[in-house]
Structure formats: structure tokens, C-alpha cells
Symmetry: C2
Subunit: 146 residues, 2 copies
């Protein structure tokens, strides 16, 4: 199985509501940009809201970031969406009567944790603001070419 596109869609959603924060935004508007259905968007918003990345619902108002985009890291978003899901999966159902089978789950837990820490450290170092900046740079460059 694979890390779903929910994480990507969540980052898309957050970038969208920040870029267009001066305009009225509905789940329909967002869904049109992500190419998905409004319900999927609302589910994502609900998850990001319980993680306090999106502020509380205020009847009819467009969703807003709870804090500055500079203070939201990609790791925050990852955990909001994927919770404690690991990047690599350890097979814990092994034969405890075999020296290898008995100890490899713990060994892989440790080894994988090191690799995951490296990836998550990078996600922690990248903020939502960084993502939006890159989007805006790409958008401006497109304008110059055409």
C-alpha cells in the first residue's frame, strides 16, 4: 500500500485558502482546483481543523489558517492527515523460535526509525510558506514566458 494523495491534497488545500484568503472560498471552489469532490475537501478540512491547522468553523465564513503559514511545517500537515503512519512497514508476525525471526522486527523498527527521522526532519524544515512561495515563483515565471 502506498501513502495516499491525501497529504498532497491537504497541502494543495492549505496553499489554496492562503493564496486566495481575500476571496470567498467554498468547498466547491477548492474541489475545482484539486479536481475532486466537495465532500473529499470537507473531510480534509475537518481533519486539519481537529489538528488546529485550520481555525474553527465560523458559520458561512471561508476556512482560514489557524496561524501564520510560516509556522505550519509539512510535518504538522503530515501528522494531521496520516497521524503516526510510518513510511516503512515492519512485519511483526515472525517466528520467535528462530534467532533471525525473533529479533528482526525490533532491529528493523530501529533502522527504519532512523530513515524516517531523516525524512521527517526535512518535512519539519519546510513550511507551508515555502510551498506557497515556490508556487508563486512558478506562476510568475509562467507569466513571463507567455
Amino acid at each position: 500500500m502506498r501513502i495516499s494523495t491525501k497529504f498532497s491534497d491537504a497541502l494543495h488545500l492549505l496553499s489554496f485558502i492562503e493564496v486566495f484568503k481575500s476571496q470567498k472560498i467554498t468547498s466547491e471552489t477548492i474541489a475545482a482546483s484539486i479536481n475532486t469532490s466537495p465532500v473529499v475537501v470537507r473531510r480534509l478540512i475537518a481533519e486539519l481543523r481537529t489538528a488546529k491547522i485550520i481555525g474553527p468553523y465560523e458559520g458561512g465564513c471561508s476556512p482560514r489558517l489557524a496561524e501564520s503559514s510560516k509556522d505550519v511545517t509539512l510535518f504538522d500537515v503530515y501528522t494531521a492527515i496520516e497521524h503516526k503512519r510510518r513510511l516503512f512497514n515492519v512485519d511483526h508476525d515472525t517466528n520467535p523460535r528462530c534467532p533471525v525471526g525473533a529479533h528482526i522486527p525490533d532491529v528493523l523498527d530501529t533502522v527504519y526509525a532512523e530513515a524516517e527521522a531523516a525524512a521527517f526532519g526535512q518535512l519539519r524544515r519546510t513550511t507551508l510558506r515555502d510551498v506557497i512561495d515556490r508556487i508563486e515563483v512558478a506562476h510568475r515565471m509562467e507569466g513571463e514566458v507567455s
Copy 2:
């Protein structure tokens, strides 16, 4: 989707055939340690063989590493089993007429690649020998306790 346990099982398999290389090994023996079926083991062996991590089939002989366990990195095994599979999934099906939707796939491709590079770098730094060493340390410590 999540990275399946195939990667873990492959590392288990490789550790097993290296630790018990002085003994006769069948897919049945290995399957008993991994707690799976011999067919699953044979499929794994086939994949590791095409990646040249396990040496060619020599009728009836037990499977052997193609090179020293010190020269096999976890990244080698990862690519043998999961090929180019990415740790994070980019949703490329977005609306190109929206500034955010048009550029976020490329931005996430880049950002994810940085995080993946960090994780894969760690996998490259870890060898099969390291894994086996840790298994043997754990095994010896168990002996002392009991």
C-alpha cells in the same frame, strides 16, 4: 498506500540466508522463519535475483548472496523490491487553470524529493551487515538474560 511488508520480508530473508549460510536452506525453511508461505519466499528470491542481490540459481543449492553483506545497502534492497516507488504520493490530477492547481504538483515533486533523499541517504548508509550485526547482538543479549 503504504510501503508493504515485502521490503521487511526481503531483509529478513537476506539476513536469514546469510546467518545460516553453512546449512541447507529451502524456501520452506525461510518461510517458517518469516511466517509466510514458500511461494511468497520464492517470489521474493526471484525479485532479489533479478536485482543481482542473490546469486543465480544453481540447481538444488541454497540461495546465496551475490556479494558480501557489507556491500549490500538497504537502499539496494528497497529498489530491488519497490523499484522507483516514492514514499510520498503527488496528486498530478489537478486543475491547470488555477494558479495553485497548475503548479503544486511540480512543487510537491521537488519538496518530497528532498525528504525522500534524506531517507534514502540513510538507507544507503546502512548495510545488510549492520542489520545482521544488530540481530546477533540482540540474540546474544537474550542468551545472557535467560
